[in-house]
Amino acid sequence: MARIGVFICHCGENISATVDCPKVSEVAAKFPGVAYSVDYKYMCSDPGQSLVVNAIKEHKLTGIVVSACSPRMHEPTFRRACAEAGLNPYLCEMANIREHCSWVHEKGDRTDQKAIDVVRMMVEKVKRNNALMSIKVPVTKTALVIGGGVAGIQAALDIANAGHKVVMVEREPSIGGHMSQLSETFPTLDCSQCILTPRMVEVAQNPNITLYTYAEVESVEGFVGNFNVKIRKKAKSIDETLCNGCGMCTTKCPQKKIPNEFELGMGNRPAIYVPFPQAVPNVPVIDRLNCTYYKNGKCKICEKFCQPKAIRFDQEDEIIEVAVGAISICTGFDVKKTDFFPEYGYGKHKDIIDGLQFERMASASGPTLGAIRRPSDGAEPKKIVFVACAGSRDPAKGIEYCSKICCMYTAKHAILYKHKVHDGTAYIFYMDIRAAGKNYDEFTRRAIEEDNAQYIRGRVSSIYERDGKLIVIGTDTLMNHETVEIEADMVVLATAGVANQGAEELAQKLHVSYDQHRFFSEAHPKLKPVETNTAGIYLAGACQSPKDIPESVAAASGVAGKISCLFSSSELTREPLIAFVDRIAAPDYSSCTGCFLCQPVCPYNAIEKEDIKDRAGNLIKSLAYINPGLCQGCGTCVAICKSKSIDIDGYTNQQMYSEVDALLNS
């Protein structure tokens, strides 16, 4: 038999000036199951809380209703009071008679009646509350960082420096990502590799970081604090423990004409290679698709020249299992290639390149050693056209968004060009100059004012070749929409930044959501920008949306902060207000029919399949199981379940039904 205590707060005069508190208390005392009812000036004050604590003890209350302000304000206060009195804190409910009553209605009978109704409703609810225990989830204090670009590096270093273990997985043979391909960085023009390389080395040397390059995430199971990750370490055909990075193999390899991915096809590499000289780790891999031995069964020249005998032609992919407590996705982005643009010749003109290719060209370690040269004939371009928003902000191309970094790097390209080709002219076609950021606008002004970049506000409708020149046809919207025709030597397209290849597949492995452009989705666009909807999985860098270096680094440090918080305790305590599937005796085991119509509605992928098997291991039934580590308690599955097999603590069917019943059937 329920023994409910009702505590009506005056809140000074905030409530009592409008609501007749003694009357409400008096009426509430007559509700079935109410054992004690009282009104008091300030329930949340120390004496008020003592009143609650003493009443619980003295009247052996089985639940309390504090009728006062919004539960969003003082629910934790009174739950604590319950706990202090030895009553389960979840046997406390608040009836909101301040924000939802005294402050919004005039004094009078109808307002009193509303207060009474609200109290009755909560009395009926609290009678049906379950005593709940906080959920404790153990935490494995190791983080998985997927992607070794600047965001991954930053996240890994910050987490490792906070004293936690990190496992980093990088798909390419070296970490570094796109930043390692860049020449100089805006708005300071410092050398990208100069600032990145030390950090790459730091990653390799940090004892808390285990680095797997040329590796990919195979599968992820589990939930926050307890993920089991399988990593596929692709065969490098090298014994990494023996390789000393002497480079003899790469020099001797007879295959030399393989387009170099790092140089975006503008240079060549051998079949056994390190992507770039500063690679971390400095261990080559054999590109089996192009290696003579793998193609013809003969060669093995590298093996002959390898002094430490590190070449392993029979090496196989290795699956490594790691247990981690948190995952940071830092898989970065990609850029559209020039072949995406029919109006610019589908990539068939050699002298139309994309921004990333220009970066390599401008880089002192690039294929031209930093000289700006036409790919077609090696001549120095005297007129160069930069096309901003190539593909971005173009719904017709399916990319409605702004790629964000292009305005700045195009300005940088114009400056770099001018520094290298003093007598050259750079034209920039743009839609708007988006230079919001510290020293960013100053930087674009510098390009215009000091380096004489010719900004033309308008888009380029077509580019074609004529007598070895590229004819760029555009409009100048600031000059009466006049057609502009430039006879250029070279064109650089600031192509749209897009989600990285394989992003969708990875999202599915991790059970995190992604948007229509395959960028990973954050849990909340404003308040949870680095979290995903799956607890324990975070996002940093351009895998979320196009970002520049400082933003990526900031997000990465944000993720590291989040993960460090998560790792600050060996157990994770969670509110027990979560959904659960009913269980009954055999032969039904549950009223759940296993239709799994609830599965897609869960924003957290918390609904799993639980197989009920007999002793011989035969499947009897598959049921839905809600992982308490993942459920956040929205209750959408509860309303979708036809057989009412799912319920949610704190808002159970019984509680909600009784509330409605009590409210209306007085």
């Binding site: 007559k30 079935p32 009954i584 005796a585 055999a586 032969p587 039904d588 085991y589 059937n665 007085s666």
Partner: protein, 338 residues
């Protein structure tokens, strides 16, 4: 009481129904509404559907409605005030144009509600019910009354049985005191008659088995797999039980609105899984075959044993209503022959 034999012509019959109505009695008769014939309250004989072999539902709802209020209650702070249904306020009801099988159905139904413990509400309704049946001229493939000790001109259960002699003339057998009181009140409408042989006037229904044989066979069939094979196509609905004149199972349900509430008696069926489901999740009749077996055993073994009364009158309603053509007569024949 000894049966009194009378003759009623059609016009007198019409007058009788009007007079019964005029005397404050509620007259129920088969009425065809949108293609389905059911017992409905009638004011005169024109509304009645004479052609119907059997109404879709039986006449049992006259004494055992699908939902029946047993009592009202009111919760107070620390007590419950109960207000019983006023059984004296029940109306006098005439079931008119019932078939002999319908009338016979009230006997096992009455046995269910009055053996050991008398259900006052049921009894009050039964006491105020008078049954004026009409013998069957026609039968269909589902009729099997002759196999369960009934017949198209059988008098058991009826207070008055009418048999059509010609389109304008009915042979009336006054069987009970209740029947006689109607005769007495309307004596002018009835003409005297000798005993009439009804055999040529009623339908021919072949006997397929006897209840006694079934009863005997069931003694050894409990663990037989015949129930599995028979129940294979059963979908597990309650249509058979709900249209059955002799099924009396019910469920008690309280419904409340605030402090006021009502206790209802609602039809229930042993064909439902929920009928025997325990709170724990255990179900003693887990499979549909077990529920089907229960249906047959209850009617042909338990009821004769406990109430000296078979629980089936051979109206065939269950088989007509069955969505998957479970044919009880066919199944019983199989048992009898097996």
């Amino acid at each position: 009481m000894e049966i009194i034999n009378k003759i009623l012509d059609k016009s007198s019959l019409t007058v009788l129904v009007e007079k019964l109505n005029a005397s404050g009695k509620e007259v129920y008769a088969p009425v065809n509404k949108k293609g389905i014939t059911e017992f409905e309250k009638v004011a005169n004989l024109q509304e009645m559907d004479f052609d119907c072999i059997a109404t879709k539902q039986s006449a049992k709802s006259l004494v055992f409605p699908k939902v029946e209020k047993l009592m009202n209650f009111e919760k107070t702070f620390d007590d419950v005030i109960v207000k019983n249904v006023d059984i004296t306020a029940f109306p006098e009801v005439i079931a008119f144009g019932t078939r002999p099988c319908d009338a016979a159905g009230f006997i096992p139904l009455d046995a269910i509600f009055t053996t050991d413990n008398v259900d006052e509400i049921f009894k009050a309704r039964m006491d105020k019910l008078t049954i004026i049946s009409i013998s069957c001229k026609k039968a269909d493939d589902f009729c099997f009354c002759t196999s369960v000790n009934g017949g198209p001109g059988n008098t058991s259960g009826s207070d008055i049985l009418l048999t059509e002699m010609s389109p304008n003339e009915y042979y009336a057998e006054i069987i009970t005191e209740k029947g006689k009181s109607i005769l007495d009140a309307n004596a002018a409408l009835f003409k005297d008659s000798a005993v009439v042989d009804k055999t040529p006037l009623v339908a021919k229904i072949e006997q397929q088995f006897t209840e006694e044989v079934i009863n005997e066979k069931l003694k050894t069939l409990f663990e037989s797999d015949i129930w599995d094979t028979q129940a294979m196509r059963c979908v597990g609905c309650g249509a058979c039980a709900f249209v059955c004149p002799a099924c009396g199972c019910f469920d008690i349900q309280d419904e409340t609105k605030g402090k006021d509430g009502v206790r209802h008696r609602c039809w229930d069926s042993c064909g439902f899984k929920l009928f025997t489901l325990h709170t724990s999740g255990h179900n003693p009749r887990e499979k549909q075959a077990q529920r089907w077996r229960q249906r047959i055993y209850h009617k042909f073994s338990y009821q004769p044993e406990q109430q000296k009364q078979f629980g089936c009158v051979g109206c065939g309603r269950c088989s007509r209503a069955c969505p998957s053509d479970m044919n009880i007569a066919e199944h019983l024949t199989q048992i009898a022959k097996g």
